[in-house]
């Protein structure tokens, strides 16, 4: 059944969009590294790209792709192919193509100009975010049958994770300003993979001093091996949970 992944992968790679995306990513990365005088600054700039553009592209492209694959899915399911396997394979193909695009578009410049620990963390985060948001796109496209709604839902997810969530966190912070919230802040961070990456990266480039006491708590937590392992596991969960729910829904779906 690896064959299905192969067909999905060929199909996506034949699609010019992925190529264009890779070129744009590497264009941005290379110019940041060339324009900024220190690689640390360039990494910060690149981090913003990773935090906003990658989830957006990943969500929108994956949702569109999955809706356009409706015929392929229908064809496959009238053949001796298991639903669960089909969806997993399609997801693997999709995720793999994003990994390839990110590894080339961001990985290559990072390896050439900023092959530091921070650079590698950023690359890892970029890859994880791509895969996580493809998984969320998969869920959105399995839940709604309507293409426009599905893509709308994907965009809403992006707005939520990129902007609204931070607003909510700020609101909570101000409302409960009298209480010690450092621990709670770490927990809240886990609820948003974008925030998780952002805070993790900010700590990597030693900006924690800007965040006061919370920064110190963050530093202590994310600097420890336990904290890093937990953060990584949470990122993996962000990928697995949408995937598992999507497979469950897909198993019950009529075509």
């Amino acid at each position: 059944m690896k064959k299905i992944t192969k067909y999905v992968l060929i199909d996506i790679l034949r699609n010019r969009f992925m190529l264009a995306y890779t070129v744009v990513l590497s264009g941005i990365s290379f110019s940041l590294f060339i324009l900024e005088d220190s690689s640390g600054k360039a990494l910060l700039g690149l981090m913003n790209v990773v935090l906003f553009i990658i989830p957006l592209v990943s969500l929108v492209f994956s949702t569109t792709y999955l809706y356009n694959a409706a015929e392929f899915i229908e064809l496959m399911l009238s053949q001796p192919v298991r639903r669960k396997v089909l969806l997993n394979r399609i997801f693997s193909g999709l995720a793999l193509s994003f990994v390839i695009a990110t590894a080339t578009g961001i990985g290559l410049p990072v390896l050439i100009y900023g092959a530091t620990m921070q650079g590698l963390y950023l690359l890892l985060s970029a890859i994880l975010l791509s895969v996580i948001f493809s998984a969320l796109a998969l869920l959105a496209s399995v839940i709604t049958r309507d293409k426009a709604r599905g893509i709308g839902m994907a965009l809403l997810l992006w707005v939520y994770f990129a902007f609204v969530f931070d607003g909510l966190v700020l609101l909570i912070l101000f409302q409960f300003a009298d209480y010690p919230l450092e621990g709670a802040m770490i927990a809240m961070t886990m609820l948003n993979p974008v925030d998780l990456v952002r805070i993790f990266m900010l700590l990597q480039v030693d900006l924690s001093a800007m965040m006061g006491i919370t920064g110190a708590v963050f530093q202590k937590y994310f600097g420890s091996i336990t904290g890093q392992v937990i953060s990584l596991s949470v990122m993996v969960l962000w990928m697995l949970i949408p995937l598992v729910i999507a497979v469950k829904k897909f198993n019950k779906r009529d075509l």
């Binding site: 034949r14 015929e71 064809l75 053949q79």
Partner: protein, 241 residues
């Protein structure tokens, strides 16, 4: 060979299938007849596992196949409207399905690919195909892997008369090999020499499931369209015949 037990399926408030219990035996060629929206395609899709029934069970050779997939190895399905990935070519689709389904010990059945002229169009992209050509591709795929069961949803709709005849010949030869064949069609004259049983569906119910010979005896007509016309006559009373 295939038995359904009390299958129910609702789409919202619409009862698409209500308590369908039929048993389909190897060697029979069964026509599913019924008005539009009577649940024929839904029943077929349920047998294939494309539609999940709300209640009931489907048995293939005595085993429940709800949520299973291996049994589809023995089914060739020709959908009413074949939907294929737009950017693939006919040859790529055929290769892909062959790649997925091929049993290395058995030669694939290339007969229809050659006789319908699909072999001369392998480079055509699916999005450029007419409805009839799509239908030909669907037919080729359904017959390629020597399935024990053939499920054909409106096989001749959209085909030119010549291709329609080629397909009917093929169906009739498969029938002689003892396969179970299910056909839905609105063109009853197409089914005349092929079918041995009729399932008549209406509003999600199976109204009757009878042998063609019995129906012919019952109504005194030979041609299937006449038989159905008599049965559909609101003043028809079987006792009077």
């Amino acid at each position: 060979m295939i038995t359904t037990r009390n299958i129910c399926k609702n789409f919202g408030k619409l009862a698409a299938l209500s308590n369908i219990s039929v048993s389909l035996n190897a060697g029979e060629t069964i026509a599913m007849i019924g008005p539009n929206g009577s649940g024929k395609t839904t029943l077929i899709k349920t047998l294939l596992g494309l539609v999940i029934p709300d209640k009931g069970d489907i048995l293939y050779k005595g085993q429940s196949v709800l949520g299973q997939w291996k049994y589809r190895n023995s089914i060739g399905y020709m959908p009413q409207i074949g939907r294929y990935p737009d950017n693939m070519r006919i040859g790529q689709i055929i290769d892909m399905i062959t790649d997925l389904r091929k049993d290395d010990n058995v030669q694939v059945d290339m007969e229809l690919i050659n006789s319908l002229g699909v072999n001369r169009m392998l480079d055509k992209a699916m999005r450029t195909l007419s409805g009839g050509t799509r239908q030909k591709v669907s037919a080729c795929l359904a017959f390629m892997f020597h399935p024990e069961v053939l499920i054909l949803d409106e096989p001749t709709a959209g085909l030119d008369p010549l291709s329609g005849e080629i397909l009917k010949d093929k169906i009739s030869r498969e029938k002689d090999r003892g396969k179970l064949i299910m056909i839905t069609s609105h063109v009853l004259s197409d089914l005349d020499d092929l079918v041995s049983e009729v399932i008549f569906m209406e509003e999600g119910h199976v109204r009757f499931h009878k042998k063609v010979s019995d129906l012919q005896a019952e109504t005194g007509e030979v041609k299937l369209n006449k038989v159905m016309a008599v049965l559909m006559d609101p003043y028809y009373d079987p006792v009077m015949q």
